[in-house]
């Protein structure tokens, strides 16, 4: 088992023929992902990477019956691409693009929630189930099928956690980058629920960073809902408060948002803390072997 994606996932790529779409689709196909086609408005009817190109998601659904979409279109077009896929009936959308205006995301989030669609990202590396399917831009070769579920707000930090758990022989059930934007499509909590239900996952690694209070909310959720061990690393202990203009942003979270606050809350809720970036793997080892 795994979460979100597996070898049966039928994927379409929005922004298929662009440079990013092409590069990452090639790598995903090579990894074994079942890409059934792509969407680029105006290029319908063409064949790209030996897969059919469609003008719209709706056309693609009629012809190749996809059940997931990955989005590589530029930020200014993401809102319409995500909404298009959601309205056409795709239930899992992964948006890699970074730089989407926050107000666009507020609107997108409202609409996809109403439609019951799951969005991963934006501004994220995507989702991978090692050995089965890679829907994203992560390097496939550092992953290995195994027992650790990984959730992260940061791309390259996810790779660190993956590499360390691979090197120690654990491997991963699935890895999800939820993205670092203020309004993400899916939260830590959404993914924790899925990993809790997944038989293959024995422990969960949650990689967080300063800002917002997603980690604090997740900590509360873990305390009462997650029975599997959760190991967390929080980046940004040494980040300075920085120059500020006004106070509204600082007080909205009630003084939360620092690494110390997050770590304290996570510990209180029974989460195991890897106190250093380089000790994520060894912390997993320590917990699973104790």
């Amino acid at each position: 088992m795994s979460i979100l994606v597996n070898k049966d996932t039928r994927l379409i790529v929005q922004g298929f023929t662009g440079s990013q779409g092409t590069l990452h689709s090639e790598q995903s196909i090579e990894y074994g992902t079942n890409i059934v086609g792509g969407v680029t408005p105006g290029k319908g009817g063409q064949i790209h990477l030996q897969k059919p190109v469609f003008n719209s998601v709706e056309e693609a659904i009629k012809e190749v019956e996809p059940n997931a979409s990955i989005i590589f279109v530029p930020a200014k077009f993401c809102k319409s691409s995500i909404i298009e896929a959601a309205q056409a009936g795709i239930k899992l959308i992964i948006c890699i693009t970074e730089g989407i205006p926050t107000l666009d995301m507020l609107d997108i989030k409202k609409q996809i929630d109403e439609l019951g669609v799951r969005l991963i990202g934006p501004n994220c590396p995507g989702v991978i189930t090692p050995g089965e399917a890679k829907l994203g831009i992560m390097p496939g070769n550092i992953h290995k099928p195994g027992s650790i579920g990984i959730i992260s707000r940061s791309g390259t930090l996810t790779y660190e956690a993956v590499k360390q758990t691979t090197d120690l022989g654990f491997g991963q059930s699935s890895c999800v980058g939820i993205g670092g934007d203020p309004i993400p499509g899916s939260s830590f909590i959404d993914m924790l629920k899925l990993f809790e239900e997944d038989d293959q996952t024995e422990a969960i690694v949650m990689v967080g960073e300063i800002g917002g209070n997603a980690e604090e909310s997740a900590a509360e959720f873990i305390k009462s809902n997650i029975t599997k061990p959760v190991i967390s690393y929080i980046a940004g202990k040494t980040a300075p408060a920085g120059k500020r203009m006004g106070h509204a942003g600082a007080i909205i979270a009630g003084g939360k948002g620092t690494a110390e606050d997050k770590i304290k809350k996570l510990k209180e809720c029974g989460v195991h803390i890897a106190d250093n970036l380089v000790s994520i793997g060894s912390k997993v080892d320590e917990i699973l072997k104790s």
Partner: protein, 386 residues
């Protein structure tokens, strides 16, 4: 991106919000004409910088003679204003806003932000304005309201009334308050703001609501569709190295240590800084070189890092995702030759083709410590910085 008060107030005026009659000047000799144009016999002169706390720092004065305004302008124009919100060097004052004087009966607080948790625009209001709102939040949380709102929602009048109650507005002021909230919300959405703060919002001698300050922050991701706001960008208010980095699409924040850092990915960059600190060192900066660490970007990043004279060693930490480490290694070597670096560089390459990359680095005829293990690399950098 931040706006100056005078730019924010111009937007307020555009959205029919009550602001004072005022004029912006860039030269001391324009003060008298500005005062005459505004009229009246009392004015407020306000140094324009991207920071709060100006009043206490001497950056705001009440004058009843335009010549005092000239004196104020001569004192501040071209100088730096240091407030509790700036760093130790302060922010340069390049312009001064002159406004008609408002008789203040009561000071209130009003702001709006996007709240991550409720995923809504939230208005924050308090009956205690003009002060440090963080202190009010800590000491008298009952005096603050957080009200989530939705544009076009039928409940908006009710939401505004809720805020008005906490601000202790009377009936007339409450009637004025609803359009203020509507217009602020419209401004927030139409101009892609990420923060809007009026501190203080005042009640004047006529009992009317009036915006005495305007702090506005715009979502940088949305600037492509706000060209007229993009034109208001004031580079002088940014850290020169940070502004330079931003031009090259590099994310850089200067810190006070001596180990320069170049990392791909913001999270990993923070993690690398934490690791340096863990081993007893001090990072000189945060720098995210981005997903595609090309030679050009790496060279640019080195140049920015080395502008800081404190830097004794540079730690490069790249986790090659899709980009291949051998290509990055070649980019690093070429960049080091191009920039002519004469301090030690520690490079940690991991991920795609990392071994090949390390081989290229160790064969290169330049001073690079190539260490694949992040702990070892960080320890080495800390040791070299001593």
């Amino acid at each position: 991106m931040n706006l100056h008060e005078y730019q924010g107030k111009a937007l307020f005026a555009e959205y029919n919000l009550p602001v004072s009659k005022g004029k912006i000047i860039f030269k001391a000799e324009d003060v008298i004409e500005a005062c005459n144009e505004i009229g009246g016999s009392k004015w407020v002169v306000k140094a324009q910088v991207h920071a709060g706390g100006r009043g206490k720092a001497g950056g705001v004065e009440l004058i009843d003679d335009p010549n005092e305004g000239v004196k104020f302008a001569n004192k501040w124009l071209g100088k730096n204003l240091i407030t509790y919100q700036t760093d130790k060097d302060g922010q340069p004052v390049n312009s001064i806003l002159i406004e008609e004087c408002t008789e203040i009966v009561k000071e209130l607080y009003l702001s709006a932000v996007i709240d991550r948790e409720s995923q809504k625009i939230v208005f924050i209001g308090s009956c205690e304005g003009g002060v440090n709102i963080e202190d009010v939040a800590k000491n008298a949380p009952e005096k603050i309201i957080y009200q989530g709102v939705t544009y076009g929602d039928k409940s908006l009048p009710e939401d505004a009334t809720n805020i008005a109650k906490v601000l202790k507005l009377d009936e007339k002021q409450t009637d004025q308050f609803l359009p203020i909230i509507e217009n602020l919300l419209r401004l927030f959405i139409e101009k892609d703001l990420s923060l809007l703060e009026i501190n203080p919002l005042v009640i004047n001698e006529k009992g009317d609501l009036h915006c005495l300050d305007a702090k506005i922050n715009i979502d940088s991701n949305a600037l492509y569709r706000q060209p007229e706001l993009q034109d208001m960008y004031d580079e002088s208010q940014e850290d020169p190295q940070e502004a330079e980095a931003a031009k090259s699409d590099l994310s850089y924040v200067s810190l006070d240590g001596n180990i320069g850092c170049m990392v791909n990915g913001a999270g990993l960059a923070m993690g690398t800084m934490d690791t340096i600190k863990f081993f007893g060192g001090n990072p000189a900066n945060f720098l995210d070189v981005g997903g595609t660490a090309t030679q050009e970007r790496v060279a640019k990043a080195f140049k920015i890092i080395l502008k800081d004279p404190e830097v004794k060693v540079v730690l490069v930490n790249i986790f090659g995702g899709i980009v291949r480490c051998d290509l990055i290694a070649e980019g690093i070597i070429a960049a080091i030759k191009e920039v002519d670096i004469n301090i030690p560089v520690v490079v940690r390459l991991e991920g795609n083709n990392a071994e090949k990359g390390s081989k290229i680095l160790s064969k290169a005829n330049i001073k690079i410590e190539s260490i694949n293990n992040l702990s070892h690399a960080a320890k080495k950098a800390v040791e070299l910085a001593k």
